[in-house]
């Protein structure tokens, strides 16, 4: 199996996640789409690690997963706070991030 097929799946996943970030307006769905993009990058790293025959790419995947977990924790806490303050998590509401 040529490694390029994994790269192709990863590129398509990243693009789908990007379209989701641009199209959707719900902040929780935006975070899900960011998770999609992070997973696409992880897939690329794992495929490249296999291609080069070393563990470094897998170590990077591990760290990306750690950072994604931390990001989700803080981001969801922010979303909960925004919802309780504003009554909406629509990211297109004017002045959502002002104040």
């Amino acid at each position: 199996m040529a490694i390029g097929y994994y790269f192709a799946v990863s590129a398509l996943l990243f693009s789908i996640g990007l379209v989701g970030v641009m199209v959707r307006r719900n902040a929780i769905v935006l975070f899900m789409c960011i998770e999609l993009m992070l997973n696409a990058v992880n897939l690329t790293l794992a495929a490249a690690a296999r291609m080069w025959g070393g563990p470094d790419g897998q170590v990077f995947v591990f760290f990306v997963i750690v950072v994604a977990a931390a990001e989700v924790v803080v981001g969801l806490a922010l979303i909960v706070n925004l919802y309780f303050r504003r009554g909406t998590i629509d990211v297109d509401v004017p002045q959502l991030l002002r104040y």
Binding site: G4, A11, I16, P55
Partner: protein
Amino acid sequence: MLLLAQAAEAAAGPNTAEIVLFWVFAVLALGAALAVITMRNIVHGALMLVLNLLAIAGLYLTLESSFLGVIQILVYAGAIVVLFLFVVMILGVDRDDLLLAGRGRNQIAAVLGGVLLASALLFAFVGPYTGPPSVCGSDAPIEVGSGQQRCVGLADQLAEDDGSGAAFLGERMFTRYTYAFELSALLLTVATIGAVILARRKDLEIEDLDQEPDGGGVPGPDGLGPHDHDPLAAIGADLAGQDHDPADVVDTDPDDQTPTDEREG
């Protein structure tokens, strides 16, 4: 999955299993990703995200990275998506709204941008790696032309330990990347403390919601804002009744509240 792999391996050459599993998991991952960004119900979207993450874990398995597959299932499907579902259910935002919000030109531009990015990535990043030198596994070519990087594969390294890849990964992580590992531990601690501080709503009183000039009542374009206001005030009253003594509730000097709001906002 293992049965599928064994069946495929029995049916044809040893490399057929990887090809079959790759296509199954790739189609699953892409379809689930499309479902995530198109589902109107957020809970359904989160479940589709689980499916996508499981499919990517399967792709890790076909990439001989079984430890990463296990970590992916544990951390993503087991922790992160559960956190998403918790927040969705706490906020009660499983209404089918906020999808394709009536700005058709922006949506078309977003999809066009995604297609452009996908084609650029496929052209520049995928094309050079579909030739014979990049084939890993049992049918990998022994010799490739000069200037071409042969796919090494992980079989040799994985044969040295128990085959799971954990020792293979951990040895490098705890030698060369020890510093990054310690930093990630610090990052997790900071994120936990930050989440606890953000989730603490001691200063959110009833007045805090009612006195904001245009705060909680910002009406969404589709009228989301105002009708969410009353249940929130009820929640705030409930919390104030439970967690604060009466003196604390009565003592709501706006001058005291304002700097706190500025900082936390």
